[in-house]
């Protein structure tokens, strides 16, 4: 047995492992008490309070640094490693991915409780408050740090976040009582960082735990029931050797005479300050503070020398230097000297700093607002039970995977980026037939007696003259006349329409439509079918042939739409085109999507059918010069800036955005989105567009067209006059009318 720590870790009950050494403990011991019993002082020195108020007993426990060993129950096999004696702990090394790959941080349990009264602190004031509340029939939860329930913070709600021995506890309380008691004052004097200093209460606890204090000397109020030699007067210096205290020097207030008393342990009864961090944190949350936490206590005498803030190492000299440079109030002094900014958030030093300021100004400054965390938690503990961002999947997700698709997230949906060969996918659309999964499109059914009126107000185009069975491309504008979304308006009957929206804009468009209809008080029923309908786009010169095979004999002409069974699946067939080729969008119940997709793939096998992903689709649309709202547009894109003025009918008396468009039409406006062509490969999307050594715009879309044999670009020019020739990627580019491909639209109508 040469590796002792390994043996202990394997389950030698009743022992901790401290810096690789086994340390026995007794039931009820904290790590700090167990260490002290063995003669090991936790932390890097300074007064030990055993009450969780300071940062003097910190260690790395089970891989987590900055753990207060006095608040950590000893447990068999627990690994305790001291912080380095100089400098700071190292950042932990990277853990294996496997340990963190779970989207939910499930390894930390989160429990929730709702109670009438949550009481923080299990001392006499807390228990009294608990009894009173219980007598009046209310449910009560007492949270006592000593019993392992550490309150991290109080948040609006109110909600208390608590670390327990089992994990995290979120307490929803109707009333909060803070009964956290008082913290003992730490000494500020040269040598206060030596080992062997304990507070009076800590001495009592150690005595009760059977820990020997050696030759103990009591300064100030002596501990009860602890054998200690009293040393009268105020402690002015601690003397020691090798980091351990050997004597305390006290001074008599009257005579000024110093007395040196040799000691193994100095027990300090220097009074108390309210333990009011949580009370000062609550802010807007109503709570009551009872017991010692609420009581004004006399401040310690102003410190004159030594370390004031043990966490940050701030000395009295630092306070003086900062003060003399103008940092003459608590908030500025704290930030400039770093006092109160350490692990204990001022627990050990705030009363000293306040006293020091009071001595200078004659006024005692109010303590500063506290911020979470009171008791610290790790990021994992904070993240426990976090909600995962959910991404939507279409009903055809598994089909895409089976076809070898590389999936990517787009508009909060998982979508096929490509199926291995985007260029082949492109050619399938241009020369054969291809399927695209467009289930992600927004789909609203709107109906009712006022539906035409509502749509005329919502959209900038005419709606009333759309005949049943026909459709129209439409922009959706906001009140500023800026393009929010685009899509189709399909009329089903006099009082019933289907509206489509972009995948990314659908959720917002649905809210928009509902809100406005409600605002206007119009009688229109809105049904969101985005998730209940799948949609497959059948596109390419052979799309008509494929649909004939699938049972669609009477095919709607361009911009027409019919209801028909396609491969026995009831579908709303819409004759549109985004790709530039003939296209039929088949909207159908999601539970039939897979069946419909497979049937079309089978029927089209001899036509060379293959599905296309987003990458090919972006190229196809680019050849047609179609705008993609969000990718090509900006926050303030008006229709005329993207050449879509024709989609706005200013002769209409009222529609959302009309007043703004009327106003901005008169402004000097020189932003235009347009097409460019250039030789060679397409420049990177986002490239600056230059003219005369100046940046005049940027590329929003680009594509090396396999069919046209050149680079096609869509992008902005923001300077007047608009240049005919510009420079992109160090090459010349010429402004070109769009569409680049089939400008008359013969193929889409074919």
């Amino acid at each position: 047995m040469t590796d002792r720590s390994a043996t202990v870790a394997a389950g030698d009950g009743g022992r901790l492992v401290v810096d690789g050494r086994p340390v026995a403990f007794r039931p009820g011991d904290s790590v700090a008490v167990a260490m002290l019993r063995e003669g090991l002082v936790p932390g890097r020195g300074g007064t030990i309070c055993l009450a969780g108020d300071c940062g003097n007993c910190l260690a790395q426990v089970d891989g987590v640094a900055y753990v207060r060993t006095c608040q950590t129950a000893a447990r068999a096999g627990l690994s305790v490693v001291g912080h380095p004696s100089e400098g700071l702990p190292d950042l932990p090394v990277v853990r294996a991915t496997a340990a963190t790959s779970s989207p939910l941080a499930r390894e930390i349990e989160v429990a929730r409780r709702e109670v009438d009264v949550a009481i923080v602190g299990g001392g006499s004031a807390g228990l009294e408050a608990a009894e009173t509340a219980e007598r009046s029939g209310r449910t009560v939860l007492v949270l006592d740090a000593g019993a392992g329930d550490e309150v991290v913070a109080i948040y609006a709600g109110p909600m208390l976040v608590v670390r327990t021995r089992a994990g995290m506890l979120h307490v929803h309380a109707h009333e909060i009582v803070v009964a956290t008691g008082a913290a003992e004052i730490h000494p500020v004097a040269p040598g206060s960082g030596l080992r062997g200093l304990v507070t009076a209460r800590a001495a009592e606890r150690l005595q009760a735990a059977g820990v020997s204090l050696g030759a103990a000397v009591a300064v100030g109020t002596p501990p009860e029931g602890v054998a200690a030699t009293p040393a009268s007067g105020r402690p002015v210096r601690f003397e020691g050797k090798e980091g351990r205290v050997r004597a305390v020097v006290t001074v008599d207030a009257a005579s000024g005479a110093e007395t040196t008393t040799p000691a193994d342990t100095v027990v300090l009864g220097l009074g108390c300050a309210p333990r009011d961090l949580l009370a000062r944190m609550a802010g807007e949350v109503p709570l009551s503070v009872v017991g010692a936490a609420a009581e004004e206590a006399p401040l310690p005498p102003p410190p004159t020398e030594g370390v004031v803030c043990p966490c940050m190492g701030t000395t009295v000299a630092d306070l003086e230097a900062a003060w003399d440079k103008g940092f003459q109030e608590l908030e500025l002094l704290k930030r400039s000297s770093q006092a109160c900014l350490g692990t204990c958030q001022g627990g050990a030093c705030l009363s000293h700093v306040r006293s020091w300021i009071a001595a200078r100004t004659g006024e005692v400054p109010a303590p500063f607002t506290a911020r979470p965390a009171s008791r610290q938690i790790t990021l994992a503990e904070a993240a426990a039970d976090a909600y995962v961002d959910a991404f939507r999947r279409t009903p055809l997700h598994d089909e895409h995977l089976a076809l070898g698709a590389r999936m990517d997230r787009f508009g909060n949906w998982w979508r096929p980026w490509h199926y291995g060969d985007p260029i082949a996918e492109y050619w399938a659309v241009r020369e054969g037939v291809s399927l695209g999964d467009v289930s992600t499109l927004g789909k609203l059914v709107v109906s009712g007696p006022d539906v035409v009126e509502a749509l005329e107000r919502l959209y900038p185009c005419h709606v009333a003259d759309i005949k049943p069975g026909r459709s129209r491309y439409a922009l959706l504008l906001n009140e500023r006349g800026h393009v929010m979304d685009d899509g189709m308006i399909l009329r089903e009957s006099e009082t019933r329409f289907v509206l489509s929206f972009t995948s990314g804009g659908a959720a917002n468009a649905e809210m928009w439509v509902r809100d406005w209809i409600e605002t206007w008080g119009l009688r229109v029923h809105v049904l969101d079918r985005t998730m209940s309908l799948g949609a497959i786009n059948v596109t390419g010169p052979l799309a008509g042939e494929l649909l004939r095979r699938a049972g669609l004999a009477d095919q709607p002409r361009f911009l027409g739409h019919v209801h028909a069974d396609i491969a026995e699946v009831p579908s709303h067939v819409m004759r549109l085109s985004f790709t530039g080729e003939a296209a039929f969008e088949l909207h159908h119940p999601v539970d039939r999507s897979v069946e419909l997709w497979r049937a079309l793939m089978d029927l089209g096998a001899d036509l060379g059918i293959r599905p296309h992903g987003l990458q090919a689709l972006f190229g196809l649309r680019l050849e047609k010069g179609h705008v993609i709202v969000g990718m090509d547009t900006e926050l303030d894109t008006t229709p005329r800036r993207i050449g879509l003025d024709w989609a706005v009918r200013m002769e209409k008396p009222a529609f959302i955005g009309r007043a703004a468009l009327e106003r901005t039409a008169k402004l000097d406006d020189h932003r235009r989105w347009m097409g460019f062509t250039m030789d060679g490969v397409a420049p990177t999307e986002g490239s600056p567009i230059w003219a005369d050594g100046e940046i005049v715009g940027n590329v929003t879309g680009s594509w090396t067209s396999p069919l046209l044999g050149k680079a096609l670009v869509l992008g902005w020019q923001r300077r007047t006059p608009v240049r005919d020739r510009v420079e992109i990627d160090g090459r010349e580019a010429a402004v070109s009318p769009t569409p680049f491909y089939d400008p008359e639209g013969h193929r889409a109508r074919a």
Partner: protein
């Protein structure tokens, strides 16, 4: 011999006024970074020292002391890139210029992309940055892993890292020390800084603003500049100026201190969170502002949980670090996410606002430009595009490429 820490020893003295002058050429409302930097640049560049800065609380108590101290210029539009690059370069020289230790560290910033669309955004950012003088380059996942060994390229199995942009001059500096450096430089040259002096109204002479009202009495002024952060709309309402600004809370937190070992700054636009290691050694984590407008500075557990979850997907080593402190600030977010600087349409009343969550990085350039505008009456070219009237002209500066992580 009492030893003073380097941190305190390197502070520069701030002079506080004994009394108020009968009138000031310029009264600046708001003793944060922008107000103090404007005062400093009025004194050092424009020779205008009859200046008062009025701070409602203590200096740098607002967003200047609450932001996440990141200095960068990796914006998406030329106007913003040029302005912030100038500010970034001013920061690089600030210690030399003022003699103050602001603990400036150039460490680079990496913005990670988890989707093809995010890759498109980052590529565009690199091209537009380099074209406008900012140094930002695409990195492959392998290069990112070399730069940030702690990075989990699978993003916790959920946010795979497809690549990222590396803004090599990205930096950090200690926020309140920047404000103090300007406060010291301005006050030593005669600028009066009044703390705990909230402005309650504006003094008018006809249509012109001629001073401010405070609880301690009026301050007459030739020019009044609102450099208020948070609640700016309340301030400008005194002059009848409506701003396209909403105020939202933003949260951040730090862990305890660790030995230096994490560089560069890492951000994800999609996850809307970022992390850096402070000069003290804390891991500093910030994220997106709350969707709900509010003036509350209360910390929110929902934000803490969400930020912790997101950042540990990318950097699992953070899981076991303990959180020292969380806090919140309130941010003035303009309708196009770009700042609003300059004239308000009311004579004698200027504004610098809309800094959103990114005002810290703009402190040197924003103050320098506002000082020039006040002194000359003409907006310098660097800030001319950021004038308030751009909203009326329908010519906003939407920087969607940078709208994610601010």
């Amino acid at each position: 011999m009492a030893v003073v820490s380097e941190y305190t020893d390197t502070l520069l003295p701030i002079r506080w006024p004994d009394e108020r002058r009968s009138s000031y050429d310029v009264v600046i409302v708001g003793g944060g970074g922008h107000g103090l930097s404007t005062a400093y640049h009025l004194a050092t560049r424009q020779g205008i020292t009859n200046v008062a800065v009025l701070e409602a609380d203590y200096i740098a108590s607002g967003n200047t002391g609450r932001n996440t101290t990141i200095i960068r210029a990796n914006y998406g539009i030329p106007e913003a890139i040029r302005f912030y690059q100038h500010s970034l370069e001013m920061y690089q020289r600030l210690e030399d210029e003022t003699g103050a230790a602001i603990l400036h560290q150039t460490k680079g910033i990496v913005w990670l992309a988890h989707t093809e669309m995010a890759m498109r955004t980052e590529r565009a950012r690199c091209l537009m940055n380099t074209a406008n003088g900012a140094q930002t380059f695409m990195r492959t996942p392998a290069e990112l892993k070399e730069l940030i060994p702690e990075l989990d390229l699978t993003g916790g199995g959920r946010y795979p890292v497809l690549g990222g942009s590396h803004h090599v001059e990205g930096a950090t500096a200690r926020h309140d020390r920047v404000a103090w450096a300007y406060a010291s430089g301005a006050s030593q040259r005669g600028v009066d800084i009044f703390q705990h002096t909230p402005v309650t109204g504006l003094l008018r002479d006809g249509d012109r603003v001629v001073g401010v009202e405070t609880a301690d009495g009026p301050f007459a002024a030739g020019t009044v500049l609102s450099a208020v952060g948070g609640r700016v709309t309340e301030m400008t309402a005194h002059a009848g100026v409506r701003l396209p600004v909403r105020t939202h809370p933003l949260h951040a937190f730090v862990t305890n201190d660790y030995a230096q070992g994490f560089s560069p700054i890492v951000a994800s636009t999609e996850l809307m969170c970022y992390v850096s290691q402070t000069e003290r050694g804390q891991m500093l984590i910030g994220a997106e502002f709350d969707a709900q407008p509010s003036y509350s500075r209360q910390s929110s557990f929902a934000a803490l949980r969400s930020y912790s979850y997101k950042i540990t997907r990318l950097l699992p080593f953070l899981r076991d670090l303990r959180i020292l402190r969380t806090w919140a600030g309130i941010c003035d977010i303009s309708a196009d996410f770009s700042p609003i600087l300059g004239f308000t349409g009311v004579d004698g009343f200027l504004v610098t606002t809309g800094w959103g969550t990114w005002g810290f990085k703009a402190i040197p350039a924003g103050g320098e430009a506002m000082a020039e505008l006040i002194a000359t009456g003409r907006p310098p070219a660097l800030i001319a595009p950021f004038a308030l009237d751009r909203f009326r002209r329908d010519h906003v500066l939407a920087d969607q490429g940078s709208a994610g992580t601010r």
